[in-house]
Symmetry: C2
Subunit: 305 residues, 2 copies
Amino acid sequence: MLEVRRLRLLAELAARGTLAEVAEALHQSPSSVSQQLGQLEREVGVPLLTKAGRRVQLTAAAEVLVEHTTEILARLEAAEAAVTALGDETAGTVRVAVFQSVALAYMPQALADLTRRHPRLRVMLSQRAPEQALHDLALRELDLVVAEHYPDHGAPHFDGLDRRPLTTDRLRLALPPRGSGAIWDDITSLAEAGCVPWAMEPPGTASRHWIEEQCRRAGFEPEVRYETDDVEAHVALVESGNAVALLSDLMRVRHRTAVRLIELPGSPRRTVFTATRTAIADSPGIIACRAALARVVPADLVLPT
Amino acid sequence: MLEVRRLRLLAELAARGTLAEVAEALHQSPSSVSQQLGQLEREVGVPLLTKAGRRVQLTAAAEVLVEHTTEILARLEAAEAAVTALGDETAGTVRVAVFQSVALAYMPQALADLTRRHPRLRVMLSQRAPEQALHDLALRELDLVVAEHYPDHGAPHFDGLDRRPLTTDRLRLALPPRGSGAIWDDITSLAEAGCVPWAMEPPGTASRHWIEEQCRRAGFEPEVRYETDDVEAHVALVESGNAVALLSDLMRVRHRTAVRLIELPGSPRRTVFTATRTAIADSPGIIACRAALARVVPADLVLPT
DNA sequence: AGTATCCGTAAGCAAACCTGAAGGGTCGCG
DNA sequence: CGCGACCCTTCAGGTTTGCTTACGGATACT
């Protein structure tokens, strides 16, 4: 009988690309992974890996095996979830990742709510960009993710993921407060923000991609002078009269900022959703976490400008 | 992550009943099985076994786990079959079981055909009663089974089995040759065989159950004086003028017997089929074996009386 | 009551696994 | 073009895991 542990190594290799990465992800030495895969190859009697430069490439047979393995791993996880669900109380540990504004605005309250209701449930929270978080979720490094979806921007798709909307929040342009200087005060729409410095998230994020697209549609290429994934820094840069930036309502939940807000064309809203793997979607820990989030986060986030 | 090897032990326990039987089936010591199940119990954190007299009983949680495990094992097997199917040649080993008349009439030829076409395919053949064979097939102790199905007699059902008809053969009553004695010569139908000794297979077999039912419908309870699962012995007992017996055409393929044959009411036919587990139904070894059987066994067995 | 069967625990032992070091090959950069 | 960085593999080693035997408690059958 094929060993699932070995099959898993192959699946991880397919997902991560190099044998060294697999080893690091599973906290093993590359040597061990190599040996195990060699053993698997010997067992099935069909070559699974071919050398490709200094890396390895999966053969067609290996791809077939990976396909089955994905199913098997999901089923194994589902089995574990199902049987722990039969236990008396929601316990165990759930690894959650959220992006910054949710972490700041709602997680303290959500966590307090969770530990009060389920003292034996251990929640490990990490802050992670949505794209990375979904990726790690698919790789079973996380159990629950709060991610975002910008309008008309195809969110990355991963198989076996269970997504549920959490809330939506308005996206606006944030300008320095009135009196910070004429160049800011003259701006009354996005189209007029072509000649001022911007603060944006790093390239590769959905946020960056989306706002750049909006700028181009408005007729200009933004001058990105400040680049950071810390949205709090964006706010600080705008408040202090150094830049304009995209600002979502989620960031304004904790403390009202002095920034000036301008509606974007079409009053766009970002969708915030939770995601987990389908195999564990019914496990008590996941259900409890989602419920806590739903209690804490308003279904429709509407803040006065 | 749950170890599949341990889960398998639990599944086998569910199928076999006692921990000792599981150990024997997997060629291990009962102690080992007990330890592994204990480990599994510790891992899931939920009790899986309760003492029931000197045996153990599965808890509801364990049953859930078994259900998932069955799926996982099937998938694992399918993965292995799929990847070996990609290999250049049909090789490996297939464990086949057939019942007596097929073993005698057709297997020598079928085996010769197989080893000629696929020299690297190793076939392990055993002779086994259909009920037992199907049972062992479901338990993964066999890979391919040739079994029978009597008309109006519900064949035992096992999940995950792939059945395909192989042939049908006529069922008749066999009497001693003319001249063996008046008590035999006077019989011209089943209804008149109520006061003569019978040779039958042991109770619990489909054959026994079916012919007894036919006798009762004909208005008598048969006197079973000779009981053996060796159908060749039935023939010998009939030929030598000691009994009457049910005789299928399959038994007459090799050598014509001197027995006298009488049609049964409705000219009933038995169905002979091959069965394998769905997970491995597409593996080259299984396909090759089934093909060899189909070549050797006529689709419809019709022998002159 | 006696016996056989079954499950669980303890201790010794063998196999499997993982680690670390060394080697060969490839890619990228100066 | 040479060097370093990176990656995979092999080999020898220690450690963990799992298996086996032996023993004891409990239960069913005769």
